[in-house]
Symmetry: C2
Subunit: 211 residues, 2 copies
């Protein structure tokens, strides 16, 4: 497996945009320096998901950024994406590892130390932990405290990202916690100027973590 | 690839039943002599789809009947099912063949001769053609004439099944057409006595095709 950088992990949401506008925003985010990109589609047919994934993959390859597919190992395998991200209602990590092989990135969502350890021992390469703040991109938001986030960072030897309602103005709450990065949707996806938003988020994150 | 028999092809629909009742009905259909079984779930999470598929697979193995998974190659691969069935909005047949390998059954839906030939040349092992009659199990029903069904049977050298609102009392419309079998959902799934319904359907089908 190649190394990957989860520091500025952009998770997309195409629901408010035409395909053209969506791809334009994805490219603007890549220009702004996001380090990892996840395509997350909940409503599309398999064929439409594959189509969009192949378009986004072209952009990711152009900018040298890995593409992770939310939930669907079939879509990831169909287009040759770099990995999948699995929530607690998605395919178990161990099954995805068997289908994807050891060369692919498998991420998992964890809300507790127990879930984090389970995901790690099942073969996850990184974790997304949250929601730190309420978010508008999921119907139900279950919050995870920064204490739990810290405990998870201490419990597993893989990168842990914070997720949920994060933006450049509120990530200071993560200071001193050994996270590997932040996941954002709205802060980039819905910004008036996507490239600038990504750059500002990256600057704020690196100021926070001093690296 | 092992041989398979599409003559009495039962497509499930779990939406009106508890899991226990659903599995009971699936087993009752297997007892009644269905020759092929497709698990079709449109609303379940990936994890729930995998769970139900693994339960249904146990029953299918017990009765020696292949299990086909609707749409989702990831679910099929996760549980080790015998194949997938792909509609026009699902993964393209050629992609599924690459992911599944040559040992698995890949079926496709075709409504025109053009779609049928495309599916066959892409590697489909059988076709489902319809809807012959309006059906209650899909939101939109586009009807396919028996003339088109006949033309498809003549156009491709793979088994072609008729589908859509079929039951023991109306399949006579298929007489003289070189179909390999019939696909049914409601006629078995919603029957008061599932085993008897499957047996009666099988008897009616074999009377029609004289074999």
């Amino acid at each position: 497996m190649k190394t990957f950088d989860t520091s500025i992990y952009f998770i997309t949401d195409s629901s408010d945009f035409s395909e053209e506008e969506f791809l334009h925003r994805v490219e603007a985010a890549l220009k702004g320096g996001v380090t990892l990109l996840q395509l997350r589609e909940k409503e599309k047919s398999t064929r439409d998901y594959i189509h969009l994934a192949s378009e986004v993959l072209k952009l990711c390859r152009q900018y040298g950024i890995p593409l992770i597919i939310d939930d669907r190992t079939d879509v990831a395998l169909a287009v040759g994406a770099d990995g999948v991200h699995l929530g607690q209602s998605d395919m178990p990590v161990s099954v995805a590892r068997r289908l994807m092989g050891n060369g692919k990135i498998i991420g998992a969502t964890a809300k507790t130390v127990e879930q984090a350890v389970e995901a790690y021992t099942s073969g996850a390469n990184y974790l997304g932990v949250g929601a730190i703040y309420p978010t508008t991109t999921k119907v139900k938001t279950v919050l995870t405290s920064t204490d739990t986030l810290r405990a998870i960072c201490n419990a597993v030897p893989i990168p842990v990202n914070a997720i949920g309602g994060l933006n450049k103005d509120n990530i200071s709450v993560l200071g001193g916690i050994d996270i590997a990065g932040i996941c954002v949707v709205s802060a980039i996806m819905k910004a008036d100027d996507v490239t600038t938003a990504a750059k500002e988020l990256k600057a704020a994150y690196h100021k926070l973590t001093r690296r």
